[in-house]
């Protein structure tokens, strides 16, 4: 049993879990962050959802694309310092081929970050996604907690409606 099922899940992580659960995912692809421990732990313990690790973000984009082509409901969960790894894969396949997908992305960097070099990528996540013409939504201290779970659902629906990948940037560090 993981930490997620021990009843100590923080409200933001719980809201993201609730939002993803509302999507009724069949597959969850994950590449952990310490900040994602509760969310990933929930899905690893969750019967009926095939949750598995991806070793690199771009590989996850490929597997997620194949699942989308097969018409399956799937979500990928990563941290933002892996954004640089996936840009080319994203731009040349699901963006170019109009495949809708949701990538829930935990924020790193900024206040509360303990890892000095992670800022180099994480604090530029929005600019990287903007440069790649990728749509994203954000959940952080500005977002009322009751909006978090519905926003996960709306971000997934936005991807379907616009036929493209969408990132949901979630700050689980308090920022």
């Amino acid at each position: 049993m993981t930490a997620a099922s021990a009843g100590d899940t923080d409200p933001r992580s719980q809201a993201v879990i609730d939002g993803i659960e509302r999507l009724r995912p069949e597959f969850v692809l994950e590449l952990p962050s310490s900040t994602l421990r509760a969310i990933i732990g929930h899905f690893l313990d969750r019967p009926g959802v095939r949750t598995f690790p991806i070793p690199r973000e771009e590989e996850g984009i490929g597997i997620l694309s194949g699942l989308v082509l097969a018409g399956r409901r799937a979500v990928m969960i990563i941290q933002d310092n892996g954004i640089g790894n996936l840009i080319t894969a994203l731009a040349t396949f699901p963006q170019a081929y109009h495949l809708p997908m949701l990538i829930v992305t935990a924020r790193r960097g900024g206040l509360g970050e303990y890892n000095s070099m992670i800022h180099n990528v994480s604090e530029r996540t929005e600019r990287l996604l903007d440069a790649a013409n990728v749509r994203y939504f954000q959940l952080d201290h500005r977002s009322p907690i009751e909006e978090w779970a519905p926003t996960v659902v709306r971000a997934y629906e936005f991807a379907q409606i616009t036929h493209r990948p969408v990132f949901l940037l979630v700050n689980l560090m308090g920022g």
Binding site: G62, I63, A70, A89, H98
Partner: protein, 194 residues
């Protein structure tokens, strides 16, 4: 006696002929153009035009997604040695997930053919041993007869399986394949759910 290496177009012709009603993922421009020239535009072919290293992961996702669909017994990825090396970690993922319908055919010419024939690391990499070390079946096949036999065997064998076929470096002139990827994806999806 050593069998002469197949050319890549001849290998593609055999694969298209033996798998006419199963999904096939084609890697990158050179392979796509040659397949188009020997077999035409097929609705069961997904053309991955410019995503080096991504064809096998796409095949993994498709094979997982179609696991319960009885119309499809095989999801085949036609991959090159250079592209496989770019996304080599996927072998480990395949060993973990065991997508039972996945068939990877590596057409190994030992070079980056489309960019001028620069060598890849394939000459010192044993793809079959690597796949087996990651936990799934793989074997080398040789020549037209070997390829035919291996694909026919695979129709009744539980995957995942990787076949590695050494092919020549002939590059017959072929026209650019300039179709809109949105159309390519939608055509393939319509064929899948027909």
């Amino acid at each position: 006696m050593r069998t002469a290496r197949l050319s890549r177009p001849d290998a593609l012709r055999i694969i298209a002929e033996l798998l006419p009603d199963q999904p096939i993922i084609l890697t990158l421009g050179g392979t796509i153009r040659e397949m188009f020239s020997v077999a035409g535009r097929r609705p069961n072919h997904l053309h991955v035009l410019d995503s080096m290293g991504l064809s096998v992961p796409i095949g993994v996702g498709l094979a997982l997604g179609l696991e319960e669909d009885e119309r499809y017994t095989r999801v085949t990825v036609i991959e090159g040695d250079g592209s496989l090396l770019m996304g080599f970690s996927v072998l480990s993922t395949i060993g973990l997930l065991q997508p039972r319908k996945l068939l990877i055919i590596v057409l190994d010419n030992g070079v980056y053919l489309a960019t001028g024939g620069q060598p890849t690391a394939a000459s010192t990499t044993d793809f079959v041993a690597a796949a087996r070390a990651c936990g799934f079946e793989a074997r080398d096949v040789e020549g037209a007869a070997g390829l035919r036999q291996a694909i026919e065997d695979m129709m009744t064998t539980r995957g995942p399986v990787l076949l590695r076929l050494r092919v020549g470096i002939e590059a017959p002139p072929t026209p650019y394949f300039l179709e809109d990827p949105v159309v390519l994806a939608e055509d393939f999806r319509r064929w899948l759910r027909r």
